[in-house]
Point group: C2
Chain length 249, copies 2
């Protein structure tokens, strides 16, 4: 409500502890079927939490009553693949053929890792999580295609199995890792130079562990240069009414 009323505009990291946050993509219905198909074929990088019906701004599943055009702190508008503006609400852009996709976010499983005493380095170092393009192809759907983007967290050898089992129990927020160990195997040339986010320290006795990342669907959409797309601004997520523990299903 604070975001809706314009009384607050900030990144949502650390807000509403225990509740899941979600990525936003808004597409015209003409492209929505193919994007839903892309997500259905690639559920690990694109775990869908809710999809609206065409033209409907009010959410009903993960945040009943939320207005998707006003309740995210900051939005980005993209035209033909280029960022054309940032806005605190998108009411003036709304169209009857817009479909909203809310996509699970790794904030949820990071909170589960911390509860299980598994360290999350980028939180310790107060940086953004390092993300990398890989050579792992997504299954294409219509105009949408591309390789998987992954996030990386260094995990002590003795805790790798625990990190796998904790995250595997949460498939609706990316689930288990896609790769453990040698970055070159999945096409990453320099672990210290991520394609998105910040690099983090990998200590002796730690293994880089890679999870499917929610940047994948945005990259697949932008590669197709759609006429008009709205997304959240990085870090400015939808705060849902769903508790992270309820995503273990």
């Amino acid at each position: 409500m604070l975001f809706r009323e314009g009384k607050l505009c900030r990144p949502t990291s650390g807000m509403a502890a225990g509740y899941a946050q979600a990525n936003l993509v808004v597409l015209p219905k003409d492209e929505a079927f193919e994007f839903l198909l892309f997500a259905q074929r690639n559920p690990k990088p694109c775990p869908i939490l809710e999809v609206s019906e065409a033209g409907v701004r009010e959410l009903s599943i993960i945040a009943p009553g939320a207005d998707i055009a006003r309740d995210i702190p900051k939005y980005r508008v993209w035209e033909h693949g280029k960022l054309t503006g940032e806005y605190t609400d998108i009411v003036k852009f709304w169209r009857d053929d817009f479909v909203s996709f809310l996509i699970g976010c790794s904030f949820s499983f990071e909170s589960a890792l911390l509860e299980a005493s598994v360290p999350v380095r980028h939180i310790e170092e107060d940086r953004n999580v390092p993300m990398y393009e890989t050579n792992i192809p997504c299954t294409p759907a219509g105009r949408f295609h591309g390789n998987m983007v992954v996030s990386m967290r260094p995990i002590p050898y003795a805790q790798v199995v625990k990190a796998v089992t904790v995250t595997a129990s949460m498939p609706r927020v990316h689930g288990a890792p896609i790769h453990i160990g040698d970055p070159a195997v999945i096409g990453i040339r320099d672990i210290n130079r991520p394609d998105f986010g910040d690099s983090v320290t990998i200590n002796p006795g730690e293994v880089p562990v890679f999870w499917p990342c929610g940047v994948t669907p945005q990259a697949a959409i932008m590669a197709s240069k759609p006429g008009f797309v709205i997304t959240h601004a990085p870090g400015h997520m939808l705060i849902t009414d769903v508790r992270n523990v309820d995503l273990k299903d």
Copy 2:
């Protein structure tokens, strides 16, 4: 290939042991987005194994090279909610806007139950599985709505937990039970009079266990009386190239 060439036409139960079979629904693209949304919102009764792109007859994921218009032994054509004919191929009906949905089938988890020494009564008694309408609402999507249809298998008390864990590990073919015990709780008045299929014997010391059923999506589609739908004929499924053991993921 035998089905495609018209050399064979029979129910597929018991064929190609170890390989998953799938239900078929073909809808025009105009309705496909809402149906994909219905399935996405109700993954337990509607576990999607593959969705084609509009107009594409060749499958690529669960049965690469299969022709969805010829490789099922028997099809049904429905117009405005009424069955208008059965056919061994649907090439003459095919349109450029048709989207095919292949939906997981409980044959896969029954084979896992049998391997785990859990009895499957309707197989023992050589009957069709009993299925019931319930009072459990599906989450609606556009024109598609309705209550969940469930299948029932009587399980000895001592094996109920095993039946849950074995099927829970296979979410892509309906997964864990939706209800265990008293049928009245989910709106079933007479366990001996199923709404679809045959009744089976429940022995002393056995509990009725209910799983989400693939009849649910067909019922939701038919309730909306769409202009034109093609499905498989009951028992005449698509035989896929996916092994049941590979659905545990």
